[in-house]
């Protein structure tokens, strides 16, 4: 174990953990804002109860997302100081802008929303939740603008031994950003939609008082409508993104498909067991021509394979291993796509339940409860795929991960912080899960049971 490996583990753990909460915060802020809008427009108190019920889960989730986000802001400097020096001229700007434009907005208006039920007018209160939702959307834009630079560096020149900004607008019009941001936003919204669907389904399966039943029935409707749109969006945006990545990071997609040799037409792997050392499949089920079809919208066209891309990279960047972990890319990609496809099917099922008035169907409701976990699987595997698929680069084609780590931070120090963050995160995860369960399963309107001292 060296500092590099540990620093990478630390980044992976803190980031995946952080992003475990972020999508729900973004999506649920939007859904709660929509619920409160209905309340303000109709004056129906049911929607106020609904807003408060889902709002409580939102703030529990938001708190842990904010807390784990603090680390994100500083760990580039802590563990990746050479990276920070090399790209700071470009990478720092979106981070600072994110704080200035989004974090202030989110934190201030979350406070106003949470504490302002009695102090603000209805309209001011409604505007607060919308500003929270807008703030978290702005935040996602700037952090992905920064991340997209790592995947597709644009608008820079190498000067004074570092990457310096040549065009700020290039950073904002980066093609990678404009496929990644919609995909991520739709993913966030679909996470929240499945969250609402899953918890509503849980309640609808139980005997409920009329008012509570109505609340969850309508929550289910909102979750379904937002769910079908966002899941469709995430799949379509994801498809566009894959086609784009094949052009700008062909190695990532080749690894995702375990495509060793260039093929024309290229087959899509459904299930592959491969030997990475020997660079060949041991066992594979494939659909002929399908990968070409997904890439070019027709059943022909060359998709380049790992071996050719490795040779190309060596010709461009010198000798070295330019192949990311095929196992990890292949399975994380399949985890993401598989979960996303299931979500699309389940969202369609929820729509069917609404259209055919089968909202009480216990078997279909039972499917939607565990489905709550699917977006979490997709979100985590999606990020593992996109970041691992870029290796060995930290900035694609420009800076290698091994050259980015802090030179003066010792292995022992990274190990201590890795253990420290992980343990604290585990404890916080347990506390979050406990509160989420407690408040998600509580029927709104029922008086809380008071535990005696």
């Amino acid at each position: 174990m060296d500092a590099l490996i540990l620093a990478r583990w630390q980044f992976a753990i803190t980031t995946v953990y952080h992003f475990f909460f972020v999508p729900l915060s973004i999506g649920l802020a939007l859904i709660v804002a929509i619920m409160e809008t209905i309340y303000v427009r109709t004056g129906n108190p049911l929607y106020k109860t609904m807003t408060k019920f889902w709002g409580k889960l939102l703030v529990i989730n938001f708190a842990i997302g904010v807390a784990t986000g603090i680390v994100q802001e500083f760990q580039f400097g802590m563990n990746w100081s050479d990276y920070s020096r090399f790209v700071g001229d470009i990478f720092g700007a979106p981070l600072a802008i994110e704080a200035l434009m989004a974090f202030f907005l989110e934190s201030t208006f979350l406070g106003l929303w949470l504490f302002g039920w009695e102090k603000l007018t209805k309209l001011q209160h409604l505007v607060s939740i919308w500003l929270l939702a807008i703030g978290s959307t702005i935040s996602s834009f700037w952090i992905l603008a920064a991340n997209s630079f790592m995947h597709q560096p644009v608008g820079y020149v190498i000067n004074n031994g570092r990457a310096e900004m040549e065009s700020f607008s290039a950073l904002l019009t980066n093609g990678h950003l404009w496929v990644q941001w919609p995909h991520t936003m739709f993913a966030a919204i679909s996470t929240a939609a499945f969250f609402v669907l899953g918890i509503s389904a849980y309640h609808l399966r139980r005997p409920l008082a009329d008012e509570a039943k109505e609340l969850f029935r309508r929550s289910f409707q909102i979750g379904t409508l937002i769910g079908i749109v966002s899941t469709l969006g995430v799949v379509l945006a994801g498809h566009a993104q894959s086609q784009y990545i094949i052009k700008v990071q062909p190695m990532k997609m080749a690894a995702a498909e375990a495509l060793w040799e260039s093929e024309d037409p290229a087959a899509l792997s459904l299930f592959t067991v491969a030997s990475e050392a020997e660079q060949r499949d041991l066992f594979a089920i494939k659909i002929p021509g399908m990968l070409s079809f997904l890439t070019f919208n027709r059943f022909e066209g060359e998709v380049r394979g790992i071996k050719d891309l490795q040779a190309e990279s060596e010709a461009t960047y010198g000798p070295g291993n330019y192949i990311p972990s095929v196992f990890l890319n292949y399975w994380s990609f399949r985890g993401m796509v598989g979960a996303g496809t299931l979500m699309l099917g389940l969202a369609a099922m929820a729509l069917y339940m609404l259209a055919r008035d089968k909202i009480q169907s216990p078997r279909m409701l039972a499917l939607l409860v565990p489905a709550l976990g699917l977006p979490y699987l997709a979100n985590a595997t999606g990020w593992i795929f996109t970041e691992m698929g870029r290796q060995p680069w930290i900035v694609y084609g420009v800076l290698r991960t091994e050259d980015a780590v802090s030179p003066t931070v010792s292995t022992g120090m990274v190990l201590i912080t890795l253990i420290g963050f992980t343990l604290v995160y585990l404890v916080l995860m347990a506390a979050t899960a406990y509160l989420m369960l407690k408040y998600a399963t509580r029927v709104p309107g029922e008086t809380a049971t008071v535990h005696a001292g």
């Binding site: 001229d89 406070g111 963050f421």
Partner: protein, 337 residues
Amino acid sequence: MDLNILWFILITVLFVGFFILEGFDYGVGILLPFLGKNDTERRVIINTIGPVWDGNEVWLLTAGGAIFAAFPHWYATLFSGFYMALFLLLLGLIVRAVAFEYRSKDENPRWRMVWDWAIFFGSAVPALLWGVAIANMVYGVKIDAEMNYVGTFFDLLNPYALLGGLASFTLFTLHGAVYLDLKTTDALRERAMKMTLRVGPVATVIVVAFIIATYFFTDAIEHLGVDPGFVPMASLLSLFGAAYFVNTKRLGWGFVMTSLNIGLSVITIFMLLFPRVLVSNLNPEWSLTIYNASSSPKTLTIMSFVALIFLPIVLGYQAWSYWVFRHRVSIKSELTY
């Protein structure tokens, strides 16, 4: 004035805002176990900062982002160099943030007690470490020719820096106590006022000791002269002003004075640094400055526009939020946290 200087000033402004605002949050967190005699009182204490603490903390995130954007080498050296200190600080901030939100969401007294201590340590540790970190920035640390910090964690715990830590800790505690005087009622307020009178002299003595130590341990005299000028003097005067107003029970003015003292102290420290951002005590040539640590003129230009447009907007809505929550919190108030 060039953009490097502008950004040095902007980062100073961000830290001034951060320490004034988060300063009383830390103080409130530190005082929580000592002033709240029962659960309701502890809830009142937390609710005095409930709507605003998160927005206050964003001043730090923005300062961090601004250092990264405007002075990447400062960001890289500072955070990789002050590694373990930053780790402890982050742990504190993480558990504290979660604690505010989770503490009152379960009735179990042990659950609440654990989170109350998380708030205490999550406030106390950063309050102490900030002083240690800032003192080290002016004291000088082992920075080599490659801009890397080559000292150890324990090098950061020198007597001068520890005194700085005590100074920030006591000053924030005082600031928080005065804030509670203004935001609470009845018995809790009485207790907060007594606490203010007890913390005040301690903070004053330690801060004055730190100022004197600064003449001996840093290049303050070379840099600012024996008479350091208006800002540092005003900083000291505001500390005595705070003592005067607290003793005469004019607590609004007392809070203005502790705020002024914190703000002016931060400005003094940055004046002491200027034009350096991190002082190397191995070789003055190796210090990081606003020129050798900075981003390109292009990045600084873009960031200047962004900051000058958005900072006033932020100030506007944060001020509005303080206006909305201007009233005192009592045990009869509806308590969100």
